[in-house]
Amino acid sequence: MITVENLTKTFPGSTGQVRALDGVNLDVAAGTVLGVVGPSGAGKSTLARCVALLERPDSGAIRVDGTDLVSLDGTALRAARRQIGVVPQGDSLLRQRTAAGNVALPLEAAGVAGPQRRNRVAELLDLVGLTDKAGSYPDQLSGGQRQRIAVARALAASPSVLLADEPTSALDPDTTGSVLTVLDRARAELGVTVLVVTHDMGVVRKICDDVAVLEGGRVVEHGKVLDLVSDAASRTAASLLPAVDQNPAAEGAFDRVADIVLIGFAAVGALLPEATSRFGVELNLLGGGLTRLGETPVARFRVGLKGERADSALEWISEAGGSVRRTLAGPQGVAA
């Protein structure tokens, strides 16, 4: 597992100092995937470069399994770098080496040789599904294949942390899927802790357990994706859940109007129908929809309720695990 403590980094800029990182704290539990997102200039790449031990922060600590790696030098620094596999931003494969040769690079650095090295390379090519491309040169591979080879290379020396900076930014949606699948397999089959920097919420949606939102060099939101989406006020919910349109005309016809977030098969499938039958209320879907976060189906609906026991129904939904936020509604204009 990896923790980032109070990381700060300042760059000299044309108009004074730029605080790229301003006290960043993160922790990623072993075997989970954290997505670091945020607007352009938020400091995502700076954070990635610090964690990759390519850039030295002004202050703060980066701990992998408890040991601080920030202040290391020389041989100790090189050894520490082997604990963190990095998929750098952009094309990073050696163009004069085959796919297998690229994957072998970290093993050469670690002094692994002979059949042991060959076996490990074969294992990793298998993990990323490119065994048949072992002898191909990067220029003979597609963008997605190159990126998967880069992931295989990052994993070759068995690091405990895998760091990827914008691994899908240059790829089309289909290819993005294949690269994300590989990152997910790395976590599932090798138990690595994954930190992925991205501007694409789709990456968070597909593979991240946790998310950290960076803005102006600060973490403004950090937690489990599924926890954050139940909080309608969170940025994560705003960008991951289906949008609900405002439609005051339609909403005026109901006694109560609420936004409901439902997480998991059981909740999405059964909660609303059961509420209507239990409390004898009429329930209409006014907007929103269904999506998927990783394997979990997640819904956000705007619902309009009619009936005596509308409030009780909403309360019950909330107790049963749905996240309910009432909006101003009802013909009486009463704040519910």
Partner: protein, 227 residues
């Protein structure tokens, strides 16, 4: 007006001179590449954004290299005569010319090599850094290997430059094609010598270019994909 030297005699002298030129160019290119490449690597490593940035050292090194490059070869030839005497106990003949030729080309090769190495994609180099590779390993397996085609072309450029400089070797009795052209062709108005040496020099330069291009392409694993 003397009658023209018979072709057979021109040919004999041309053969000797070609041998001397090739000897000077090949040996001095080898030495210059051998000694200039580390200079180029050092320049690139210490450059801003290099693997081991050392701004002051880089500036000093760059200054010395550029000073060496701006020195007229003829001056170097004369100045280095004493060094040559020390190294080879002889200051005449093609072997004696090799010392100033090599030394003169070292800074040239240094800059060429630095330029070539600086073209290697930063992301590729950083990827190697994150694997925990030592600087030496990165230089060998990444910087030099990735730019091998361009390095081979740089060797060709160096050899052709040295082919030109070797023409001045006559000053220290180095002989060679340039010397023949000047002595027989220019000073004695012997057109046969003048033009035949020019032709042979052109053939050698073209051959160097063709061979290095071919070898460079042969070792290159990049396939320029047309969009």
């Amino acid at each position: 007006m003397r009658s023209a030297t018979p072709w057979s005699e021109v040919f004999d002298q041309l053969l000797v001179a070609t041998g001397e030129t090739l000897y000077m160019v090949v040996v001095s290119t080898l030495i210059a590449v051998l000694l200039g490449t580390p200079v180029g690597i050092w320049l690139q490593l210490t450059a801003p954004g290099g693997l081991n940035p050392r701004p002051v050292l880089h500036k000093v090194l760059g200054f010395v290299v550029d000073l060496g490059r701006s020195m007229p070869f003829l001056v170097l030839l004369v100045v280095l005569t004493s060094l040559t005497r020390l190294l080879l106990t002889s200051t005449i003949g093609p072997t004696a010319a090799i010392v100033p030729l090599s030394v003169g080309a070292i800074p040239f090769v240094g800059r060429l090599v630095q330029n070539v190495l600086s073209e290697v994609n930063v992301a590729v180099v950083e990827a190697a850094v994150t694997t925990g590779s030592s600087t030496l390993r990165i230089v060998r397996s990444v910087l030099l290997r990735e730019s091998l085609p361009a390095l081979i072309n740089a060797i060709g450029v160096t050899a052709i430059a040295l082919l030109g400089y070797s023409a001045m070797a006559g000053v220290v009795g180095g002989g060679g094609l340039g010397d023949l052209a000047v002595r027989m062709g220019y000073q004695r108005f012997n057109d046969r010598f003048l033009w035949s040496t020019v032709v042979v020099l052109a053939i050698i330069a073209t051959a160097i270019q063709l061979v290095t291009n071919r070898v460079a392409r042969g070792v290159d694993r990049r396939r320029t994909t047309s969009i």
